[in-house]
């Protein structure tokens, strides 16, 4: 039980580590949000599942937390991305197409 929980928490922290590495390595704000959102979501899931193994009494609470994170994490990253684009945050030169830009210029 304890070993299983510790392994889950370890995998979760590894995912967190890689995601923070991604935030440093990606070239522009949008790609950074990409690594930030996805990895922290799965990392949190793993850490919470590991905690549920370590102390089974908390399982219901952890489940509620998990649902909240799954609902709010994408929303917040969406808002940040949208604000960045409205603010004309420069995109990486690798970017091949920007349909949103074209639409905003039309309007």
């Amino acid at each position: 039980m304890e070993i299983a929980g510790s392994i889950f928490v370890l995998i979760g922290s590894l995912i967190f580590f890689l995601s923070s590495l991604g935030v440093i390595r990606m070239p522009d704000v949008y790609n950074r949000i990409q690594t930030g959102t996805k990895a922290t979501t799965l990392g949190t899931i793993f850490v919470l599942v590991g905690l549920a193994f370590l102390s089974p009494d908390w399982t219901a609470k952890l489940a509620v937390l998990l649902v909240f994170i799954l609902l709010t994490n994408p929303v917040s990253s969406h808002v940040v991305a949208r604000a960045a684009h409205f603010n004309k945050e420069p995109m990486s030169p690798l970017t091949i197409e920007d349909k949103l830009e074209a639409k905003e210029e039309e309007a």
């Binding site: 995912i15 890689l18 995601s19 590495l21 991604g22 390595r25 990606m26 070239p27 522009d28 949008y30 790609n31 949000i33 990409q34 690594t35 959102t37 996805k38 990895a39 979501t41 799965l42 899931i45 009494d57 908390w58 399982t59 219901a60 609470k61 489940a63 509620v64 799954l70 609902l71 994490n73 994408p74 929303v75 990253s77 969406h78 991305a81 949208r82 684009h85 995109m91 990486s92 690798l94 970017t95 091949i96 197409e97 920007d98 349909k99 949103l100 830009e101 639409k103």
Partner: protein
Amino acid sequence: MKFKAAVISLILGLLIWLGLNGTIGRDVLITGIVVTVITSFFFIGTGIFTDVRLTPKALFALVAWLVVFLIELIKSNIDVMSRVVTPKVRINPAIVEVKTRLKSKLGRLALANSITLTPGTLTTDIEGDTLFIHWIDASDVDIEGATRKIVGKFEKYLEVIFG
């Protein structure tokens, strides 16, 4: 159908309350019921949950959607991790435009959230039935191709749940 939103919020509120408490004692249950009944009173007549369908088929689709979603989430993480650790960051980003068939607001919210959490895609803006998506490895920049690749997986389930 005036009370549908109130009933759903009552059930959800009670579940969250019991989850946070972690026990089903008499005092806990009574407090929870009193408070959730009072709060759900404010939901009467609001249209928040009117799009949700409560048929067995919709519940089945909900489970199927959750399974697909979790698989996609893990796939997306492996994908992003591999991009992060390779010596040269190989990305091919673009903001593409996709169309959705979903009509309800809640359904579109669920779709945008699922897209954000799946491989290399991030919803940047929604306008009507058009979603603007930042794609870390854009293989198809025209509307039809991108719609099929990004939206197709989730839409068929969400269509059954939310319409």
